[in-house]
């Protein structure tokens, strides 16, 4: 790997540190009575409120439809995920140090696989919360379930649920893309490419072009 590629790869690993601070996913609930909305923020190691006591208030409302309380302590993934991300950062830095492309591809592939498993797991939790309801709930509507969308927006009674990646999610996506770019970069840049590069003094353009090639 070229030095630039190795720097990019190290960067891809290091920006993942931010996911320990910022949420990776966000579920926003809007209703006529909640013009300001109720928000739920999913971190790699916690579930928090969009603002104030939102999570507590979502749990309070959910009891009417018989949904289980969302208790972060009861979700084991939140304990495992920090180690997985930590391992990815460590492995990524190792790849950058060794500079072997095959290892870089392994990292990217692993990361994508973890991402897919993560989304599948997220879907399972959503399904469980949305379908596994208390039969004695005050509000029961035949055929109605309350599973929020995996990604996108959906109407659930008076609430519209919006489920989208948050800053941390975009960082994860960016890290995978950056890692893939670094892996794709060729050791020797052809002369024609170099000429093009001189046209654009900014090397990052070159990186992108090479990635496209």
């Amino acid at each position: 790997m070229k030095p630039l590629a190795r720097i990019l790869f190290a960067t891809a690993s290091l920006i993942l540190i931010a996911t320990f601070i910022v949420p990776i996913w966000s579920i926003q609930l809007d209703a006529p009575q909640y013009p300001e909305g109720l928000g739920m923020k999913i971190y790699i190691n916690a579930i928090g409120s969009g603002s104030g006591n939102d999570l507590e208030n979502i749990n309070g409302l959910n009891h009417y439809i018989g949904m289980k309380r969302i208790e972060p302590e009861a979700i084991p993934e939140l304990k495992i995920m920090p180690y997985i991300i930590g391992a990815l950062i460590g492995f990524g830095l190792l790849v950058a140090a060794v500079g072997r492309r095959s290892l870089a591809w392994t990292w990217v592939a692993m990361f994508i696989a973890i991402g897919i498993v993560g989304m599948w797991d997220f879907y399972q939790w959503e399904y469980d919360y949305g379908h596994n309801l208390n039969p004695h709930a005050a509000i029961k509507i035949e055929g109605m379930s309350y599973q929020p969308p995996l990604i996108g927006s959906k109407q659930l009674l008076n609430f519209t649920a919006h489920s989208y990646p948050d800053i941390g999610g975009w960082i994860v996506g960016g890290a995978i893309l950056l890692g893939a770019c670094a892996a794709i970069m060729k050791r020797n840049t052809p002369k024609i490419e170099k000429k093009k590069m001189t046209n654009k003094s900014n090397p990052s353009y070159a990186v992108l072009e090479e990635a496209v090639l």
Partner: protein, 650 residues
Amino acid sequence: MKAKMWIPAVLSVVIVGAYFYGCSTQKETAAVSGDVASKVYVPPGKYDEFYNFVSGGFSGQLSVYGLPSGRLFRVIPVFSVDPEKGWGFSEETKPMLNTSHGFVPWDDAHHPELSQTDGVPDGRWVFINGNNTPRIARIDLTTFRTAEIIELPNSSGNHSSPFTTENTEYVVAGTRFSLPIPNNDVPISTYKENFKGALSFVKIDKSTGGMEIAFQVLVPGFDYDLAHAGKGPSHGWMFFTSYNSEQANTLLEVNASQNDKDFIAAINWKKAEEYIAQGKFKEMPAKYAHNVFNDKTHSATSTMMQSVKMLNSAECPGLIYYLPTPKSPHGADVDPTGEYIVGGGKLATVIPVFSFSKMIKAIEEKKFDKEVDGIPVINYQAALAGEVEKPGLGPLHTEFDGKGNAYTSFFVSSEIVKWSLKDFKVLDRVPTYYSIGHLCIPGGDSKKPWGKYVIAYNKITKDRYLPTGPELTQSAQLFDISGDKMKLLLDFPTIGEPHYAQAIPAELVTKNQKRIFQLKENEHPYGAKGEKEARVERKGKEVHIYMTMIRSHFMPDNIEGLQVGDDVYFHITNLEQDWDVPHGFAIMGADNSELLIMPGETQTLKWSPKQVGIVPFYCSDFCSALHQEMQGYVRVSPIGSKVELTANTR
């Protein structure tokens, strides 16, 4: 002879008639014109530009309106009980209405005053006076609740209150009725020798707003009416109007209207601080209540204070000077620059405008006419900047637009008159409907008025609204003062009797709003911070029910084992932590009120069952789709019953 007598009589009738005819035609021509509706229209969901804090007068409360719409948002209970909010009925709020006379459930609230920083309203607190049983209340604008009430000893009829100094160092109180100090059993006819006034300076804590009577000043026994603090160059002075310098004790309408001039008392409170520091005060026994509400314990405490520091004006040279002011003055209003002091003589034919710098010069040059009880009376002309001539009849109160103009209310001629502070000439006049008392310009008594509107607070409405029997609505009127001429925009009804009012740009208040009380910060001794803490406890005849409420149930909601003659305390904690989700609590046969409990708050209703049987209770504030299901029962058994005390929600 007879014919000759007739001529002047007829003539005088014609003249008086012409005068009143003049007034009435003036009223008719002052119909609203142009597109005024759009100027007061606040579209649904949009906010008003200003908050308007309007005294509730004999309701004892403070009302909150939006301007320019004139919409009523809230009535804040202050001096009077309010069963709607449990104010004065819940165990926690009862101490707020405690006084040296015991629990007093009513008062007459006249003058709201916003706290100021650098002479400009800062949106932290509103102070308001209780006129009847002399008190000052402080309302916290983060919660729009009364946070503190302090009683004023040696005072009766606290009218000239609670005007603030430019950094809210002090708010003041006076006494409309002079009294024997200390009060004792004397013939009323000995007024002149035995009756005195006391002017109070209440110190305000900069960070908490906490009130304490720093000192009182013993003054001659007149009726002290209104006040305003100096600002800028006159900072350090407070100006109180007084009437009844005749010291009449009966038929005041005649006997207190004889002197050509009464007085504005100019008090150098910085000098008073020096005298206090030098120990020139007398620590005087005085019993007065100091009541404070705590937002962590959600409870009030009432402390009976025992003494005040009293300065005797006769023994403190340089503390007070009298400005002779025609005639039975009401308002003492200081312009934004702090140079002019405007007196509003109720029976005067001119508006006197005093100059602060001339007053200081007159003091230095000792231009005094005489002394009253050792207080120098400054020569009228020596302190006078000018007089507004033929302004109208019955000038009461003046505020300022910050553009060099003053606006004075006239009760008798029922109008607002705009005049210039440059040459004291009248610029414009508009009728009010009817008989205006105070007026208000947002920030109009401060250094920087937001001079967009003037609002008239009227004493009489007669034919202005749909009639409602003998008792008609009270009212305010909004005028646009952004141009040269005042323009009537809107009439809006008000509660009680609106006396003074203040207005402030909304964003200075909205940014500090509290939405909920944090449950984890709840320090109420009987609070239950979660359903696991809900329980019942018996201590002899006292039963304490630690109850929680959350959409849409109580915990516990089935209580058995209560007995006739028990004192049952429902201590109810609202577990909600969401904005705008209060719950109510109402129990059948309660001889007090409901409770209205905010998220995170604990309140207590005392209930003494008198009959055997089942008694229902429920949530009285529509809270959720299953609000009607939010209910429960208590079982009341005979005295000595073996029914076990139990409580549950299953």
